[in-house]
Amino acid sequence: MATKASRSAARLMMAPAVILLLGWMLVPLIMTLWFSFRNYLPLKGGDLGFAGFDNFIRFVTSTSFWPAIGATMTIVVGALVITIVFGVLLALLLDQPMWGQGIVRILVIAPFFVMPTVSGLVWKNMFLDSVNGLFAQIAKMFGATPVEWIIDQPFPSLILIVSWQWLPFATLILLTAIQSLDSEQLEAAEMDGAPPLKRFWYITIPHLSRAITVVLLIETIFMLSIFAEIKMTTAGAFGTKTLTYLIYQRVLESQNVGLGSAGGVYTIILANIVAIFLMRLVGKNLDA
């Protein structure tokens, strides 16, 4: 069908994108790998020689490693559970007939378009602040003692902020999936006398499983690398140093590039494990 000429033209047209992405991927990756095996300290004279696996071992045996893994897991798992559970419920609700559906959709989606630095600062100061924050004021109205959210409850605070940002995404995708559900199937089940909860559990949820998986994987990849939300609120204090934040501090703040790069290699491996599952799902759809 396609002629030889159009094939080579096609290859030529693809070349810039492929070459750029190849360079973008390989060059930094090789550099990170290289640094991770070096004693590289820019503030103390630069490259001080081969380090073997020292950086890799030091990174995982340092006292901040396991807390960072814990912090990352807490935030990612917490926000995932909240966004997916509420995302499903919200998508079901938005799928129902109602007045002003378009406007409600707009309201629900809005947080996704707020830049991370704004969400971090607005939540931290205007809502979670223990003196003038809205939460503290509401607590005062009910005679309760205001909570120092960011300091005393850093994880619930961060999970709240991240969930608020990502709930719209989960809802939107799950809503798209629900709308493709064949309503005849549900009607048939209703006529056969299946109660709403059973219909939800045996028809809606299996239909949504694919979309839920996609949301899960994409959110995991993005949430593993949240950065601005932490920088704007706790700046890594109060035990909220995630893996991403820890590496950022190693590399740019304390300028221990070898150690930070070893950490970077770990995150790349971690992200790739998640990515493999996502790619499989996407790949399947590409064939269909």
């Binding site: 991927m25 609700l93 996704f112 004021q137 719209p168 493709s180 690398s225 990515a275």
Partner: protein
Amino acid sequence: MARAATNRRKTINTILAWSVGLLIFFPILWTILTSFKTEGDAIAYPPKFLFFDWTLENYSIVQERSNYMRYLWNSVIIAGGSTLLGIIIAVPAAWSMAFVPSKRTKDILMWMLSTKMLPAVGVLYPIYLMFIKLGLLDTRLGLVIVLMLINLPIIVWMLYTYFKEIPAEILEAARMDGASLKSELLYVLTPMAIPGIASTILLNIILAWNEAFWTLNLTAAKAGTLTAFIASYSSPEGLFYAKLSAASTMAIAPILILGWFSQKQLVRGLTFGAVK
């Protein structure tokens, strides 16, 4: 009877959905409202919701004091520039993958997607070092290049899924009629591809506008975007709620409006066609 029941259900749904919607939107609404308050009203107890002295003073103070226009201009240039550059590179690639597919097309698409999964922090230092060596640190050009590269996979993918929907028969018919590759591109394909390209541009402007990791780490005062502008409010200026709110409102308003137009594209662009 049945009609009354459906109507009642509809009413309940409406009330429930509006309540949840307003609750989710509330932080944004509160920020916008606070931006029109005096600093005193902004921290008044009990909180003032609508009945306060509305003022535009915060907006003029923020503009004067922080060079808002320069950050805005940087945001426009960087988000627009990186998107435009990405489109120029991605259109031919997506076009050829959609219309002249080969055995390897799928592998190439999947591989492009995989580059998007690379955690930014993993390559932070190499990029930082290259930026220093090439003199790109805190320049608009540098950020345009980086943001173009991180969004290129999404651009190619979105365009590919849109181009895929253009029926190949039309192209073949044009070829039969003796259209050259150039006229085929110009007169047949382009008009049909424009809506898809427009949606892709929209989503990528949003993504680039809100990007924070590279923006915060690779820019400072000179090439900083609105993301960096807001970050400069982290302390102690963040304690001035009305000004923080005015600055935040100015930073998110343009993209909030663009975003509302691109809800549908969002799903397509961010799930790589895995959810339809």
